[in-house]
Amino acid sequence: MNTEWEPQLVGFLCKWCSYGGADLAGTSRKKYPPNIRIIKVPCSGRVDPLFILKALQLGFDGVLISGCHPGDCHYQTGNYRARRRVAITKKFLEYMGIEPERIQASWISASEAGKFVEVVTEVTEGLREIGPNRLFDEQQQQNTTEAAA
């Protein structure tokens, strides 16, 4: 009865900053939830809203987009553009009915292993709270807490 559901999170990490942060977290043996699947992207500006929606359609419970801090982008402005895109996507999909917790963004530099751990933990816990992604299931979403109970 009691399902062993674990949130599945996909992370699009910029290869210059956030991916380095994740790497550092690993090499410095920090613990973070194993629920994240990481996809390395050349820049947070590479993340198309399509990626986000496709991940949700494929059944991932949440999406994390992470790039360099404002001003630190390897390509000067990629993360600023990503910010506009993410803001619009997140807010718009919220209007369509996708919980805002499922789409998360962060700025994590290559040295911020601690922040990476923190963000992934928080996001994962947030997803645990709102329950599994049933958005694209054929049948109407039943009581989401039912599965968790």
């Binding site: 399509l50 553009r81 506009r84 993410v86 803001a87 807010k91 209007y95 369509m96 009915g97 979403q141």
Partner: protein, 330 residues
């Protein structure tokens, strides 16, 4: 109506002069449609066609859709070489400016014949109001802020706001932002615009909203009328037609339909002028404008950006400010 007649006269005259003096090669306007209470786009190089140009409360199409040389996936539009004179209402005008911002059309190839727009009559609303289909109505006459609808020989009067499109009721800029010739006097927007806000889904839970869209998009047949009628959907190849990777199955299942429309609307951020053509053209009546208007309001809220206001301004998504949307990022 009288003022329409005058504007129409002037339009025919100006269009004729433009063709005659070789200032443009092509006129894009409206002519009477083949059905009662409809008009249809008139795209012509022939001066003889110009006495068919009309201005009335049914000139609904956003003619800017014909401007980009290439429209849709490998889909060539009419051969628009040379200079074009185009009839534009407020929203159409903003779509044109938006196309100029996106480098899809050059301002100096255009002569914009601006129409100060008092709002267009939505036949679906008239049908609902009278309980009759369009072809069963005898007459629809607009008189200022009233409309007189005649059914079976019997005339009834209604406030004009009962029959105008929602986007017209909520329109902020009924007079084109940019024009070469303005036909008539600039008009003011409606004082009370809340009826046109279209945020029909505020105040219900995310689950209920998703449920709503799931139900609506079950009906979608993926005819792509919403995309093809939209002046801002000018991609040479739409993402739904990509095959490697294939983002979406070409089959009309609600999951794919919904995703298509979500991404299409995101692509419209900063381009959509809220002309409402997507919703009007939808053959299965999906309230698409609820989505596009939300996007319209969102970009205004987040970035204080309104589409198609200044032709020299950079497009929304190519630009950024140092300080914005900060609370959305961890």
């Amino acid at each position: 109506m009288n003022s329409n007649n005058k504007i129409q006269q002037k339009l025919r005259h100006e269009a004729g002069a433009l063709l005659e003096q070789n200032k443009v090669d092509l006129i894009i306007g409206f002519e009477p449609g083949s059905l009662k209470f409809t008009t249809t786009p008139l795209i012509t190089r022939d001066k003889g066609d110009l006495d068919r140009l009309v201005i009335n409360p049914f000139i609904v199409n956003n003619l800017a859709v014909f401007l980009p040389d290439i429209k849709g996936p490998d889909l060539k539009g009419p051969k628009l070489k040379g200079r074009v004179a185009i009839v534009a209402k407020g929203c159409d005008g903003r779509s044109i400016v938006s196309l100029i911002q996106d480098n899809k059309v050059r301002r100096d190839n255009l002569v914009i014949l601006g129409i100060p727009c008092p709002g267009m009559i939505e036949l679906r609303k008239v049908e609902k109001l009278t309980g009759k289909d369009r072809d069963e109505l005898d007459d629809i006459i607009r008189e200022g802020d009233k409309v007189v609808i005649t059914v079976d020989g019997k005339a009834s009067e209604f406030p004009i706001s009962d029959v105008l499109f929602d986007n017209c009721l909520g329109c902020e800029f009924p007079t084109p932002q940019d024009y070469d010739i303005l036909l008539g006097e600039p008009t003011a927007p409606f004082a009370e615009r809340s009826a046109g806000q279209a945020r029909i889904l505020k105040g219900i839970s995310p689950q209920e909203r998703w449920e709503f869209w799931r139900r609506e998009f079950r009906r979608c047949i993926r005819c792509y009328a919403c995309r093809n009628i939209c002046p801002s959907c000018f991609c040479q190849r739409c993402f739904v037609e990509e095959s490697e990777p294939q983002w979406l199955m070409p089959v009309p299942r609600w999951q794919e339909n919904l995703m298509f429309q979500a991404i299409r609307t995101i692509h419209l951020a900063g381009r959509c002028s809220d002309c409402g053509e997507c919703e009007r053209s939808c053959p299965v009546n999906i309230p698409l404008r609820s989505l596009t208007r939300e996007m319209y309001d969102l970009v205004d809220e987040l970035f204080h950006f309104k589409a198609g206001m200044a032709k020299d301004a950079p497009p929304l998504m190519t630009h950024y400010e140092q300080e914005e949307a900060k609370d959305l990022i961890r």
